[in-house]
Amino acid sequence: MSNRPEQGQRAASDDESERLTHERWTRALEAGEPMGLSCGDCGYVTGTPKAACVRCGSRDVSTVSLPTSGTVYTKSTIEIAPGNQGRGYQIALIDLGDARMLGRIADGDHVEIDDTVELTGTYEYDGDIVGVFEAR
């Protein structure tokens, strides 16, 4: 089947109301239902909003639900940070299904590479919301 748009029409994925915006991504995260984007051409899945595929440039990207549990790809404990970030916190690149996302590890928790982690809440810094993860 062909779902290519006729000339002059816009593909569903190119419709701004369908696009994964920062606002939509944030609301989904706050609801505990993280969202990403899957590319219909190359299959790459990203964990944060884009206007097109970051790997191949295709506009044929559609929003997908991401799992709430994943695996730690790498991590670091940060002692020197901007004042409002505190210190001694951990950040981690987390593989959520096929997508990878930078998350903050819950205060007092500590994770290692390959640990299974779960999205348990959100953290706000300077008006932006990110996912907080805990070891399972």
Binding site: T46, R55, Y73, T74, S76, T77, I78, I80, L102, V130
Partner: protein
């Protein structure tokens, strides 16, 4: 280039201290300069100064009619300006281009406290998806290095050896900000900044300036000085945020830039005599050695411990002391690497001279491993 350290003088005065000697060294007069490409990263955030190129050009006396422009590409700024200078000369747009950078970003020189300076330095990270969870400049290289340690068994002791080696080289460089030698124990006992990096795994906050002159191939010798050839230069980008980078510790954009640069130069990593890499953190030098093809993947830690990257080793890296010891005034770093390598190829490096150097390589990385410039230089024989 200036000594790197702490300065409180205006940016234009700081740059003049690098630019006027560079033009004298090249044998060119102010009126010969067709274009001036100036690198500066944090002037807007720290000094409330943007659009610095006309101000700096005026201060050093470049005549009206000189095409002047500022470049900003995080820590790769100076090399990006150099790339544009090389391309402008190659295409015949300009015959003589002055290129360099200056930065004032030390807490001591600006009165800005370390945590606030850490926030400003982090502005190269994606605001929504990297700054918000708490990523800092140190922590992006820390994330890559932790994964490298996991995959290849790289150790904190091996990282410390990078710092020890670069401080040893820096002890022979009068321009170095921290030119005293360090021991592995001192590095491992210093406080954690972003694990696995400790204070002595990290380059300092630095002020300073550097400059070089780029001229066309045929004109080079007419100035009566000893030029070196830019054999190749390539700029490649990587995804931002880091989460979207393929195999993050591979610094894949460096691999693309190195391939392209070696293709242009007609030689390969095995032919390089001396290299300056972007060792903003010890782990960054480990990743660089592998991405440039100087050692195979996973072997940079052991190669460092074996002394292969020392002045006397078979792949001397960062004879200047690198960012680690010499310092890292962001916008000045790229062309400072070129100054060091030019002097090495001319045999002017004194105690830290790598003997019989004819081919050199520079590696400059910007932002959250999102930009790289790799440059190959060659002596004229």
């Amino acid at each position: 280039m200036t000594d790197f350290g702490v300065y409180t003088k205006p940016i234009a005065e700081l740059f003049a201290d690098a630019a006027l000697p560079a033009m004298e060294d090249a044998g060119i007069e102010n009126g010969d300069v067709d274009a001036f490409y100036f690198g500066n990263v944090l002037g807007g955030a720290i000094l409330n100064e943007t659009h610095l190129a006309p101000q700096v050009a005026s201060h050093i006396g470049l005549p009206p009619g000189t095409s002047v422009q500022r470049y900003e590409d995080a820590c790769a700024t100076g090399s990006l300006a150099l790339k544009h200078a090389v391309r402008a000369v190659e295409t015949g747009e300009h015959d003589v281009v002055l290129v360099g950078g200056a930065e004032r970003c030390t807490p001591a020189g600006t009165g800005i406290e370390t945590s606030e300076m850490t926030r400003i330095f982090g502005s190269g990270a994606h605001r929504q998806y990297e700054q918000a969870p708490g990523m800092t400049t140190a922590s992006v290289f820390a994330l890559h290095t932790q994964r490298h340690m996991h995959e290849y068994g790289t150790t904190e002791e091996q990282l410390a050896e990078v710092a020890v080696k670069n401080h040893y080289h820096g002890s022979m460089n009068s321009r170095a900000q921290f030119g005293e030698e360090k021991t592995v124990e001192e590095v491992l006992e210093s406080p954690v900044i972003a694990s696995p990096f400790r204070l002595l795994d990290c380059c300092p906050f630095s002020d300073g300036a550097s400059a070089v002159v780029v001229v066309g191939e045929s004109a080079a010798e007419s100035y009566g000085v000893e030029p070196v050839d830019v054999a190749g230069i390539s700029h490649q980008a990587n995804a931002s945020p880091v989460a979207d980078q393929p195999n993050p510790p591979s610094t894949e954009m460096v691999r693309r830039a190195a391939r392209d640069t070696f293709d242009q130069a007609g030689f390969g990593p095995g032919d390089v005599d001396v290299t300056e890499v972007h060792d903003c953190f010890t782990g960054a030098e480990i990743l660089a050695l592998e991405a440039l093809g100087l050692v195979e993947d996973g072997r940079a830690g052991p190669a460092t411990v074996q002394g292969r990257t020392r002045l006397t080793g078979d792949i001397p890296v960062n004879p200047s002391g690198g960012l680690k010891s010499k310092g890292h005034p962001i916008g000045a770093t790229g062309t400072a690497q070129i100054v060091e390598l030019t002097e090495q190829l001319r045999g002017e490096s004194g105690e830290r001279q790598v003997e019989d150097s004819t081919r050199a390589l520079a590696h400059n990385v910007g932002g959250m491993t999102a930009t790289a410039v790799v440059t190959a230089l060659e002596a004229r024989t």
